[in-house]
Subunit: 128 residues, 2 copies
DNA sequence: CTTGACTCCGTACATCGGTACGGAGATTAC
DNA sequence: GTAATCTCCGTACCGATGTACGGAGTCAAG
C-alpha cells in the first residue's frame, strides 16, 4: 500500500514538513517522483518514521537515530553501547534535576516562613 | 571598584561575548562609554551576572530571570509563584526521565539475554 | 614610538528539531 | 471546465543561548 505525503503525515499525526525534513536529513528515503503526479510513500517509510518517533521518545537525538538505522543489521553490541550511553546520560540528567528540586524546595520553604510579602527571600538568596 | 569587560568575564569565568549578549538582552546595563578609552563595569553588574548564573542553575530561562530581576522589589508572592511553577516543571521532567530510564533498562535487559550478536532486540522493539 | 593585546560594534553562525511561505504545477470535486 | 485543494521545491525562519569574526580604534609595556 502507498499514499501521498499528506496521508503519511495524517497517519502518523505529524506535520507534512516534518516528513520532508526527515527526507532532507536522510532519515527516510524520498520515493521517486512519477512522470506525472505526486510521490507515493510505501509502508516501509511509514514504519521507518514510526521507528524514529519511538526512538525519539526514548530520548535519542535524530543523529543517534540515524546511527541506529544504519546499524540495522549490525552487531547487537553496538546498539547496546549506544543505549547504555543514553542510559547514563538520563541518570545524570535526573541527578541534576533532583539537585534543582531540592534547591527550589528550600527557597520555597523560606518564602512560606516569610511574613513580609514586600520582600522575597528568594531574591536575597540569589543575590551575592 | 570597576573593571573592563575582559576582567568581568574572567572574574565570572564566562565568555566576553556572553557579557555582551546579556547587554543586548537587557539583562544587564552597559556602562556608558567614556570620551576616550574602554567601558568600565561596576561591582553591581558583576553581581547581577552572578545572580543570573545562579538562577540559571536553578533552571530558570533568561526570560524568566529578566522577570525575576524586574520583580526585585515586588511581592514575594509573585516570585514564589514563578518558583512553584518551575518546581512543577522539574517534577514533570523527572517523571519523563524515569519512564525513559525504565524503558532503556528493559531494552538493555533484552540485549543481555540475547546470544545472537548479529541481531539486536532493541532494533526489533523499535520496529512496528 | 612601535608592537602586541585589548575593546568596540555589527553581523553572522551554531545547535536541534522542526515550521512557514510562496509560486508553480497536478489532481480532484462539482 | 473551472475552482478548490494538494504537491513540490527551495529557502527562510523559530527559540534559546550563546559563540565567532572582522576591522577599526585604544591602551600598556618596553
Amino acid at each position: 500500500m502507498t499514499r501521498t505525503i499528506s496521508k503519511v503525515a495524517e497517519e502518523l499525526a505529524i506535520n507534512i514538513e516534518t516528513v520532508r525534513f526527515y527526507e532532507r536529513r536522510g532519515l527516510i528515503q524520498q520515493p521517486p517522483k512519477p512522470e506525472l503526479g505526486y510521490r507515493h510513500y510505501p509502508d516501509e517509510t511509514v514504519n521507518r518514521i514510526r521507528f524514529i518517533k519511538r526512538a525519539q521518545e526514548l530520548g535519542f537525538t535524530l543523529e543517534e537515530i540515524a546511527n541506529l538505522l544504519s546499524l540495522n543489521d549490525r552487531p547487537c553490541a553496538q546498539v547496546q553501547e549506544l543505549a547504555e550511553y543514553k542510559l547514563s546520560a538520563v541518570k545524570e540528567k535526573m541527578a541534576d534535576l533532583r539537585r534543582l528540586e531540592k534547591a527550589l524546595k528550600v527557597l520555597l520553604a523560606q518564602c512560606h516562613s516569610n511574613d513580609d510579602d514586600s520582600h522575597c527571600p528568594i531574591i536575597d538568596s540569589l543575590q551575592p
